[in-house]
Symmetry: C2
Subunit: 193 residues, 2 copies
DNA sequence: CAGTCACACTAGCGCTTGCTTGGTTGAACC
DNA sequence: GGTTCAACCAAGCAAGCGCTAGTGTGACTG
């Protein structure tokens, strides 16, 4: 029970915890299971994390942080047309599912297990991510490319995207580029007014 | 530990269990909490349900069954145009969130806690529901109303819809009819080829 | 070479968990 | 008016839980 930092050891432990949380769920994953997976004894866990909840927060933060970074980079390096920006964001989202899948699944299912402090912190990251989407969708609506009201469209789109966690297989026959293209095609008008 | 039937008492207990599962999550809801909420002692619970998992299965089955019934009725009593059928299904989905919200939230979050037997049974109900959507979406694609590939479009649409559980407030300013209209508008082409 | 530090260990405390057991109740039925 | 039966209770077991306390280590650092 020393302190908490972000040592490389802690990073690795967080990655392993993510795997287990996906397989078993947070509540069903015991500190003894975690320790065994990590090759240490259960007591040693609390040298790296204050308590079990902090492990959960670390897992979720990792993926959310990366998703935000990747989304920003994608927007920074794509052409400024609304359709291209929609596509870039959707592709970035699917790509993070490849690299941080466990983290996102955990974020989706175990969000409510976070204590207030951790949730407050993470909710800001999530808001920042959704704001990116809102801006891009708003531009698309203004350009007549997408029909509907901003608040609703972005919720529908984020829903469709977040749901991909449940069925998208990064090793499957379709890559993220194709899927992003399909999603954008579905919600955009072919002959904008 | 007598047997399991579907007495009215059991129905009521299932409803209460749904509430608690939403508030606390399945794993964090103890049989003692359930019993207290139901006004009985924890041991008496096992007169109505074989074990804790069976309570979960009962909660989920209730909502899924109703969703299927309502969706079928909605399709049976609407005009045959693809757009009208899309709208009818979407509205039916949102309406079940009004009557069976707890059940659907639990189905969404706690699906993996089901044992194999219960999951096998429920997966058939879920498949039947998704088949309804697939048929309606396929017609819409064939009519040139919606762009894209059936498997992907239906996953995106079901994702957007299932996600509504997380934000749709039936007591809010918009009723299910408006929301359904918005969703259909978003994915349909204004000037079909 | 003494001191510090990150990391790990052993051992177990105090509590909660799902579920069982054996028995009681009160209404319904013939 | 004895029988049946769903519904409930009191009591508790065995297992498992998160977490703590106290104690080595071996590798760096002054």
């Amino acid at each position: 029970m020393t302190v908490m930092n972000d040592s490389p050891r802690r990073k690795e432990l967080t990655r392993l915890a993510g795997q287990l949380f996906v397989q078993e769920g947070f509540d069903r994953t015991t500190v003894r299971m975690l320790a065994q997976e990590m090759g240490i004894k259960s007591g040693s866990l609390f040298h790296h994390f204050r308590d079990k909840q902090e492990i959960l927060a670390a897992v979720i933060e990792e993926g959310t942080q990366n998703a935000l970074t990747q989304a920003r980079q994608a927007l920074a390096s794509c052409s400024p047309e609304p359709q291209a920006r929609l596509h870039a964001l959707a592709k970035a989202h699917l790509d993070t599912l490849l690299t941080d899948r466990n983290s996102h699944v955990v974020a989706l299912y175990e969000w409510r297990r976070l204590d207030d402090e951790a949730r407050d912190h993470l909710i800001h990251l999530r808001d920042a991510y959704e704001t990116l989407w809102n801006e891009v969708i708003e531009d698309a609506i203004d350009a007549g490319l997408v029909k509907g009201e901003l608040a609703l469209v972005s919720r529908f789109v984020l829903g469709a995207l977040n749901w991909t966690v449940r069925w998208y297989d990064p090793d499957g026959p379709r890559d993220s580029d194709e899927l992003a293209k399909e999603l954008v095609a579905m919600i955009t008008q072919e002959n904008p007014a």
